[in-house]
């Protein structure tokens, strides 16, 4: 059995699962204290589920802790960056596009040295050892322990990043080092930004991991625990201390993955409707479709892998105006329970319309009986039109797709959606996040530019797949359960016809846990 816990901004959800079956589920307000929050969640499901401690094989935790630390600029460590790129790149030094409020929290400890590679694998230059040693001396002098390392084309050739990290480790044995090739993708500015954010979270990550460990120990659990990443796979306690930033956006990912399990669908659109907004995401082969654009985290442009999510300003608390012609984007938010008409308030909301058109019974239904039927009809149509358009923007083609509805605002949908081939509202939809955490698998990913004129396609794919498999096994996957999840091939414009950027991803079940 497994326990999945999702620590969100407002709510902490927990589920106890046996295989794919949900034994019990619980929802509570998020506590400020990581340790206590997890203890409370464990107590709830273990008491309710009446399980033996030894039956729990793993605990999976999803958390927004690290995203919030970046957004709020708190508990971040002073962080240095060494980039191997010279003589190229001097025009755009590290952190040149950062908002000053977060750059000043990390301090301005940027260094550029000779090194890095070209697109075709040749060196830009060998590593400038003298400059590297000077940079490290400077970092030691400034007392900085969190250090990011980047090098040109490191996703294709990580040799220089590895060498620089080894040299840092020799001279600063207790440094926390984040190498950009382990975190981001092609695009050195965005990738080293991602590595910097990751490095800046290292001290906090160590604290959070020990709080989680303490919570489990206090409740007598000896099983391993894992933290969910934003691609829907897991990392072990050892990994999260090194890669806390890979938890960014894991909430929406867990919601999508949970919706997949709860509905039994692997390819579908998921519409998660809350009080103020709805999020549309795409499930492809049971995993979220990833965004191809750059994503700003706390104002810093990064290229983390992130789920492709379209947020729209429509939810249960959305204001209904213009005689029903307009619904949202303004919302009464969490004041729904006091301001909506059915709850005795005076603001007409989308929830009031859902009650008036008979799709749901909440609050005092008699309070919306006097609404103009034409207004109710107009706003009901508007709500469905907005949802239809959001689905249409995200679906891969014109073919209607199965749609899974989750979240409290799912009550707004009472009619057929033109864009949907079917609409599914699964049981336990309210704790989809925790379910997504509990069922997560372990993955491995590689990205590289390959020239098919030098290596034929079949061999290149085989070679990269093996590298991805090795990464997944190192992260804790059972080798027998590995499967190829995705191969992405992108031609490189204006270059020789056969240069292709390939990204391969494999996933598998966790070892020793059922």
């Amino acid at each position: 059995m497994r326990i999945g816990i999702d620590v969100g901004g407002t709510h902490t959800d927990a589920v106890l699962m046996d295989g794919m079956e949900i034994l019990c589920a619980h929802k509570a307000l998020t506590s400020n204290d990581v340790r206590q929050g997890i203890i409370d969640a464990l107590d709830q499901v273990m008491t309710e589920g009446r399980v033996d401690l030894n039956a729990i094989k793993a605990v999976m935790i999803g958390t927004t802790h690290f995203t919030n630390a970046i957004i709020e600029r708190r508990q971040l460590s002073p962080t240095a960056i060494i980039r191997a790129c010279l003589p190229t790149g001097s025009g755009l030094p590290p952190m040149c596009d950062w908002p000053s409020d977060i750059a000043s929290v990390l301090g301005y400890h940027g260094y550029m040295i000779g090194g890095g590679h070209l697109f075709d694998g040749r060196q830009i230059s060998s590593i400038d050892e003298t400059a590297l040693d000077q940079a490290i001396t400077d970092i030691i002098y400034n007392g900085v322990k969190s250090i990011a390392v980047s090098a040109a084309f490191s996703p294709a050739n990580n040799l220089h990043e590895l060498k620089i990290a080894a040299q840092i480790r020799r001279r600063i044995p207790d440094a926390s080092i984040s190498m950009s090739h382990e975190i981001g993708r092609l695009g050195i500015l965005e990738r080293e930004n991602a590595a910097l954010l990751n490095a800046s979270l290292s001290e906090l990550a160590a604290k959070v991991v020990s709080s989680m460990e303490a919570a489990l120990t206090e409740r007598g659990l000896q099983c391993p625990f894992f933290v969910s990443q934003n691609d829907g796979t897991l990392m072990s306690a050892k990994f999260i201390a090194r890669y806390p930033a890979l938890t960014f956006s894991s909430g929406p990912t867990n919601s999508l993955r949970g919706a997949a399990v709860l509905s039994g669908m692997k390819d579908a659109l998921v519409v998660d409707i809350g009080g103020t907004t709805l999020d549309v995401g795409v499930l492809s082969n049971g995993f979220p479709r990833e965004s191809n654009s750059h994503i700003a985290v706390g104002g810093v442009r990064t290229n983390f892998r992130m789920p492709d999510i379209l947020p729209i300003g429509l939810g249960g608390g959305s204001l209904v105006t213009d005689e029903g012609a307009r619904v949202g984007p303004q919302s009464v938010g969490h004041k729904l329970v006091s301001e909506a008409i059915v709850f005795g308030g005076s603001t007409l909301t989308a929830t009031d319309i859902a009650v008036a058109n008979g799709s749901v019974k909440v609050g005092n239904t008699s309070l919306v009986q006097t609404l103009d039927p034409a207004l109710v009809e107009r706003s009901t149509k508007r709500i469905h039109d907005i949802i239809d358009e959001a689905i249409d923007k995200m679906r891969p083609s014109e073919t209607p797709v199965p749609v899974i509805l989750v979240g409290g605002g799912a009550i707004l949908v009472s009619r057929e959606l033109d864009t949907a081939s079917s609409v599914i509202v699964p049981d336990h939809a309210g704790v989809a996040n925790a379910v997504g955490a509990a069922i997560a698998q372990v993955g491995g990913e590689v990205e590289q530019i390959v020239s098919f004129s030098k290596q034929d396609r079949a061999h290149a794919l085989e070679d990269l797949t093996q590298q991805a498999q090795a990464k997944a096994i190192a992260a804790g996957a059972d080798p027998k359960s590995l499967r190829l999840l995705d191969i992405e091939e992108t031609s490189v414009s204006y270059m020789d016809d056969e240069a292709v950027r390939i990204r391969i991803k494999v996933v598998g079940e966790l070892r020793h846990t059922k």
Binding site: C85, P87, T88, G89, S90, G91, L92, C96, D97, G116, L118, F119, D120, R122, I124, A152, F153, L186, G187, I188, L189, S293, D392, K393, M394, R395, P396, S397, E398, S491, V492, S493, Y494, M495, D496, D497, R501
Partner: protein
């Protein structure tokens, strides 16, 4: 506009992305670099071709290669300035001003910042008035400017002198050099007199793109609200004619790389009438647009696409199903309307079997 400074670059890049007609790559890196350098050196003087002395010596400058490479191989501050200095040393000529060869995309930002560094003016104009993929398609060679001597520089400080018989051989040579020298190079080329600039350059495009970029950010990016001002801006310019060709959503895209070109088609569908469809043929840029089989715009006229709710210019690489877009057809400037110019820029020059019909002559429902 008398000068161009760091505060103009964001608008310039936005306008340049519109005029890039779907090509030009992601302008983020060129924008950052130009802003930093102009911030440090102060604004560059912008000079109208009309005010340029006939005997002034002007050199065109920009980057050539694969945009994907610059994602990793970031620019240095000195590539552009060393290309100019090297050009002066090799040719023994003094450069009085620089000019962009391509206003569409990131190459619009290089001449302004290198002008500021060198303390010379930047000519307000360019060699395309849009984006096009190859050197022989520039107005400079079409109107008699020799592309070489050209100096190409890579980010390692290597430089080479190119001497080519004509624009076609120059294009072939410089493309091969770009791959050999790490994927991206800076080129100082098309040296010409002020008199030749007046004859060959598309004038006022730097100030025009800056105004255009600012305009596209008005009215919260709602394109319907921006349209009256957008039409007024183009109608009063050398482009002259602008039409809204289509409003609808992307329903299909196909793309692949052929001979270094990003080749494909996109199909759009009208919101009001599902049977009304627009097809767009792409070779890096949007080149031909037809509605239900009838051509409504073709290269060298401009086909520009923006997202309906943000007015953000839509790059062909970013196009995908479900996007809501507005498509505009814009007349090319008179430079491309001669038989000589059309022979290298009409649809047949890109392998499409159809005649160029000027936008304003196409009856449009």
């Amino acid at each position: 506009m008398k000068t161009i400074g760091a505060e103009h670059i964001k608008d310039l890049c936005n306008g340049a992305a519109f005029l890039a007609t779907g090509g030009g790559g992601d302008p983020y890196i060129s924008q950052l670099l130009a802003e930093r350098i102009l911030h440090q050196y102060g604004p560059a003087q912008l000079i109208s071709p009309d005010d340029l002395p006939d005997e002034a010596f002007v050199v065109s400058i920009g980057m050539v290669g694969a945009p994907t490479v610059t994602l990793e191989q970031l620019p240095t501050v000195d590539e552009a300035i060393s290309a100019l200095n090297r050009y002066e040393a090799v040719t023994d000529k003094h450069i009085d001003a620089v000019i962009p060869f391509e206003i569409g995309g990131g190459n619009s930002t290089i001449p302004p910042f290198v002008a500021a560094m060198k303390g010379i003016p930047c000519v307000d104009g360019d060699g395309m008035g849009r984006a096009l993929p190859e050197a022989q398609m520039m107005t400079f060679p079409i109107y008699g400017v020799k592309p070489t001597p050209a100096i190409i520089v890579d980010s390692f400080g290597n430089s080479e002198l190119l001497e080519c018989a004509d624009a076609l051989s120059f294009e072939k040579e410089i493309r091969a050099k770009a791959v050999a020298m790490g994927g991206m190079i800076t080129s100082a080329e098309h040296g010409m007199t002020g008199a030749l600039v007046k004859r060959s350059a598309v004038p006022h495009t730097l100030s025009f793109a800056t105004k255009l970029g600012a305009l596209l950010r008005q009215h919260d990016g709602i394109i319907d609200a921006i349209e009256p001002d957008l039409f007024a801006l183009f109608n009063a310019s050398d482009y002259g004619v602008i039409k809204r060709l289509f409003t609808g959503k992307v329903v299909d895209t196909t793309r692949k790389i052929i001979s270094g070109y990003d080749v494909g088609t996109a199909t759009l569908q009208s919101f009001n009438d599902a049977s009304r469809k627009m097809e767009i043929l792409i070779r890096n840029e949007y080149l031909v647009a037809s509605i239900n089989g009838r051509t409504v715009a073709s290269v060298p006229d401009l086909i520009c696409i923006v997202e309906q709710e943000t007015a953000r210019p839509l790059n062909a690489e970013r196009m995908r199903y479900g996007q809501r877009v507005a498509v505009f057809g814009i007349g090319c400037t008179h430079h491309y309307r001669t038989a000589r110019a059309l022979s290298v820029t009409e649809p047949r020059a890109f392998g499409f079997d159809l005649d160029y019909i000027p936008l304003e002559e196409i009856d449009f429902p």
